[in-house]
Amino acid sequence: MASKRTYKWGVLFGLAALPGLALANPEVIKLTGDSKNWAMQAGNMQNQRYSALKQINKDNVKDLKVAWTFSTGVLRGHEGGPLVIGDMLYVHSPFPNKVFAISLADQQIKWKYEPKQDPTVIPVMCCDTVNRGVAYADGKIFLQQADTNLVALDAKTGKEVWKVKNGDPKKGETNTNAPHVFKDKVITGISGGEFGVRGYLAAYDIKTGKQVWKGYSTGPDAEMLMDPDKTMTWTDGKMAPVGRDSSLKSWQGDQWKIGGGTTWGWFSYDPKLNLLYYGSGNPSTWNPVQRPGDNKWSMTIWARDVDTGQTKWVYQMTPHDEWDFDGVNEMILADGINVKGKPRNVLVHFDRNGFGYTMDRATGELLVAEKFDPTVNWATHVDMKTGRPQVVKQYSTQAQGADVNTKGVCPAALGTKDQQPAAYNPANKLFYVPTNHVCMDYEPFKVEYTAGQPYVGATLSMYPPPKSHGGMGNFIVWDAGTGKIVKSKPEKFSVWSGALVTAGGIACYGTLEGYVKCVDANDISKELYKFKTASGIIGNLNTWEYKGKQYIGVLSGIGGWAGIGLAAGLEKDTDGLGAVGGYRELKNYTELGGVLTVFVLP
């Protein structure tokens, strides 16, 4: 009897030790494992944006034709992309956040969902009214609305199953991120770093919408779900516990309460480690003089246990930000990356600050931190022992001070890369990264906090880097093991579109002028296909298969920070307009309007 019991417990323990295999939402794992679907915004939980489909390949991609198009009926910036599950396609729009379920058989709209949202959230949204798409699991489509309502819709009918309020727009809290389903939870973040929002990540039960945990980016250890003795960070060349009050000690007074560190990017998940990964954003305000200290844990890579939210490890990339180098960009998980002769299972992150980071994703060790644009000048390098960037005084807006215009900082606030997600090619273990190539002048000034009102505190001018190719973007290939650019393809404007790489040997991305481009994955300077869509592209390229044919789809619809900002707001007002011709020119290529374009071989 006793031995039998022991045996049973042994089995249970064994299951618990393999949580990824035993408990992860088997449906989503199965769906993403079949390349016919595009069942998550990044194609899989590792954020790889890779597809094993190869019907469309480097030899025939030149023959691509438009199969069908679909208008969302909404203007403004269209980020994210469609999901495809079986014979259905689900696509979203920016505010008012419509969702369409489209039958792939005949492109009929099976159902449409349009939430009623208070338009007063519009001015509280930072950089246009974008939304980065929906998630699927358990027969439900999850929509994270701008007004912070997280909604579960019946995937068959579009009827609301549950709805929960994730934040408060009256305090400046809004949402633009896509929800992500890991195991039995839907994970979402919060936007509002420009409104003094205190960032957090939250997990809700996919069945009921009940909040399971919520972990803040700043504040007391318990509210961040940090254990001072067990949560680790890179310290003097090794991992060490963060210690007590690691955030509180890094802020003056109560500033952490309005300290930013918002969480509006893409999240990834390692089923074996049961860890989810994401980045926290800029500290509020943009005036560094007003918030002394390292401002932990803004600008940080986080690894949290999916079930409890407890923080396994953190790494702060830009302590005491002085440039709005928001750390929210995606964490891509890749296995067997050769770092100094050893294969490592890593997390790769291309930060706004211009450094590409490679971390051991189990332990949080810093392995590589190198510039992924040679014009990055605000820091000479990252000290690999302390993990801290070595800031150049000339470009330090803190050192130059408030009401001083610090000139020539590269990259600009929108970063060497913003939210536009990169792709990983397991065939050659290289990363395909859409980047910005923009510098700035930055003048911080004092601001006072009023709940729900902008708390920015800096004026910026942005322009292409002097002494470069004159354009404002590059599409690059990156070796995360060595931290080196393998190849760089210049683009006229920022590449603000998520990349796709496939087993067909192609990499595809969109441009702000509105082109879809596919290049040879082994030599990205070879442009194999180009098509001008209805509007500028800030959406991501996705691919799927239906009835034996491979399709590639992308949302067009200029806007977002890149589109609106570049087209309208970034002229150097006092220094003459010579340097900014490039930005204004975007108007010569594109207009607003959301359209999904789907490509197929003839």
Binding site: R76, P119, T120, P123, E194, E448, P454, D573, T574
Partner: protein, 132 residues
């Protein structure tokens, strides 16, 4: 009825006379030299514009983005209409109410003067200094 008209009449006269002290001799609510040097009130208006990040919706040059072009609006709106829009907002169109902001309520005249100067083409976009 008559009384109402009388009161309105006085109000009209006051409004017509009031620019005498608040406005420069040419009838403009701002003073400007060289396009980027302005009187103190207008300067505070620009600082308010900057601090409340109005450019996020209306554009760095007030040319309009998510929100309307203020270059055009300020040619059309009366000062009272302008104040009403800013302080009470236009929630149905997405314009928030700024009556909760001390900086806005204290500098609403300067904000009007600054934007009027922009609409008139007299004040340049970008950084301003105080006219001494």
């Amino acid at each position: 009825m008559k009384k109402t008209q009388f009161v309105a009449g006085i109000a009209f006269v006051l409004v017509a006379l009031s620019p005498g002290y608040a406005v420069a001799a040419d009838g403009k609510p701002y003073k400007v030299a060289g396009g980027n040097k302005v009187d103190k009130v207008t300067l505070e208006g620009w600082r308010t514009w900057r601090a409340l990040a109005c450019e996020r919706c209306h554009g760095a040059r007030q040319e309009g983005m998510v929100g309307p072009s203020l270059i055009e609006s300020l040619r059309r709106l009366s000062k009272d209409e302008f104040k009403g829009s800013v302080l009470k907002g236009r929630p149905e169109k997405g314009m928030p109410n700024f009556d909760g902001s001390k900086m806005v309520t204290e500098n609403i005249d300067g904000l009007y003067a600054y934007l009027k100067g922009r609409a008139d083409g007299a004040i340049q976009p970008g950084r301003l200094e105080e006219l001494k």
